[in-house]
Amino acid sequence: MRSDAVQQLWRSRGWRFGLGLGLMLAAIALAVGFGWLGPDGSVGGPQWQGASAAHWFGTNRLGQDIFDRALAGTATAFRVGGLVTAGALVLGALLGAAAGWRTGSLLDEVMLYLMGVLDSVPIYLLAAALAFALGGGELAVITAMTLSFWTATARLIRGEVARLRTREFVLSAQAIGLPAPLIVGRHLLPNAAHILLVQGALTFVAAIKTEVILSFLGIGTLENVSWGLMLAESTQDLLAGHFGNFAAASLLLFLLLLALNLMTDALQDAFDLRETAA
């Protein structure tokens, strides 16, 4: 990581604010994971309560505390976002680097073809298809998004590796006979780390947004409480004048996305990355 860039990062107000907010939400997600926060599964309280000290966003149709559920949604968002991001980054970095190492090779052609195919299938349709193929639920959603999202990272890494590959320090390493995986691992990928960082944040955002829409479409995660699920529920509540579900889910969703976007922004600024790729 370039030290000047890191310094600039820490000077950025957006980064500090975004990171703080993100960490706070991550802490909530962790607490939910440990069972310290979030709903206990009980039902049967009075339904449709308004906001109160006991229920910050009121209760839902089942009489559950809406805020508790929204907090639980944070865990889902981090789990889905995190897994998708991890999967997409690992796939993207490895396959992208493999393709970029020998642009024009058979492997590269095959990778480009594969990416072309995956990019041509709209995400919702791919998610739907996988939901059916894998029997629905969170696993399908995560798989679908990973399959859709890794290509963006792979293309960038491929480009960066191809660009760095002709750099002289790589040629030097090659000239002394270092094996290719070592060169890629030691010299190329670390130099593309900033791309991975930014792509990670972008993928996280995309994953969360997509999960919300997939949930609304009825092909999202259903095993656990998610913001998408709450928003989908809220479309039924809204016109009955119950805004709790909508407010809680969209607020937390907005906060997490804001945190991630601010961080992405600061990262892009610091590392001088531009979103000029289509």
Partner: protein
């Protein structure tokens, strides 16, 4: 390389891509796809009934045969019939496509033009108050979910809880007036959701172009802001801009319209796709996927040709 050779290569590429997409989606959607059998059975089916339906659906045949069959039909332009209502898929999509186009086009165009102007404003005042304002706005915009935007806009503009000016759903367009009546709120939603992305993209592109050495030369020889932005920067940015515009067309048409049309009950491609998703209507889904891939291939060709026109460096090689 000769033009014919180039076109041939492109065509082979396109065909290979579509074949891949078809194979992938067929495998996922048909081979591992939802089982229609039980939805087509009555209340008290016998095992014999189940067999018959499975046979009629072709479930008992080997994968390659089914794929081959479907492929040969598709190649002849026959996409089969929708499992939802037995309607041939071709006319079904043919009817829906113009609606979707009319629905998303204004939002797409306005969103991009507005994004371009805002992006230029921010890039020109890089680091200044305008830049911060535009960037802040776009970060906020990026952090809004499309679903939330649609819900809020509908609540504000289409219901008695808000202004109640526009219809909540439907598409009964028979003139300019009714067109505006139905298209306004979806357009606003599309603009809102895309503006953040567009502005940042255009800002980045223009900024990159403004940082080029030749811009400095042009300035050194007296070129002013308008000329730099609208002549040099824009013209040089033509390739990424064109590429992005073209590549977003398939996405906007299918993914973008999906939510809008579902929520506003507009019988376009997106709604059809949604219905097909929720009911597992494979013929329709496959047709949509393959046509989207075809659109991608066409878009690739266009983007390539456009880039060659826009950038003389590409044209001559």
């Amino acid at each position: 390389m000769s033009l014919a050779g180039y076109l041939l290569r492109r065509l082979v590429h396109g065909a290979a891509l579509m074949l891949g997409v078809a194979l992938l989606s067929f495998t996922l959607m048909v081979q591992f796809g939802p089982d229609q059998t039980f939805e087509l059975l009555g209340k008290n089916p016998t095992t014999e009934d189940i067999e018959t339906v499975r046979e009629n659906l072709g479930y008992d045949r080997p994968f390659l045969m089914r794929f081959g069959d479907w492929l040969s039909h598709t190649l002849r332009g026959d996409f089969g019939v929708s499992a939802a209502n037995g309607e041939p898929v071709g006319p079904l999509l043919g009817r829906a496509f113009p609606i979707t186009l009319a629905l998303v086009l204004p939002g797409f165009l306005i969103g991009n033009v507005l994004g371009l102007l805002l992006g230029m404003l921010a890039a020109w005042h890089r680091g200044g108050a305008w830049d911060r304002l535009v960037l802040g706005g776009s970060v906020a915009g990026l952090s809004l979910s499309f679903l939330v935007i649609i819900i809020v806009l509908q609540l504000l503009l289409c219901t008695p809880y808000g202004l109640n000016l526009f219809p909540t759903r439907g598409w009964r367009v028979d003139g300019l007036g009714s067109y505006f009546y139905y298209v306004t709120v979806p357009t606003l939603a599309l603009i809102t959701v895309s503006l953040g992305y567009n502005t940042r993209f255009y800002r980045a592109v223009i900024l990159e172009e403004l940082g080029r050495e030749h811009i400095r030369t042009a300035r050194a020889f007296g070129a002013g802001g308008g000329e730099l932005l609208f002549t040099h920067a824009l013209r040089n940015a033509a390739v990424p801009v064109l590429t992005r515009l073209l590549y977003s067309i398939p996405l906007v048409l299918v993914s973008g319209s999906l939510l809008i049309e579902t929520y506003f009950g507009i019988p376009g491609v997106g709604k059809i796709a949604f219905d097909a998703i929720t009911s597992g209507d494979q013929a329709v889904l496959l047709a949509i996927v393959v046509l989207t891939a075809a659109l991608f291939v066409a878009v690739q060709l266009l983007a390539d040709a456009g880039s060659r026109l826009a950038d003389p460096r590409l044209g001559s090689s």
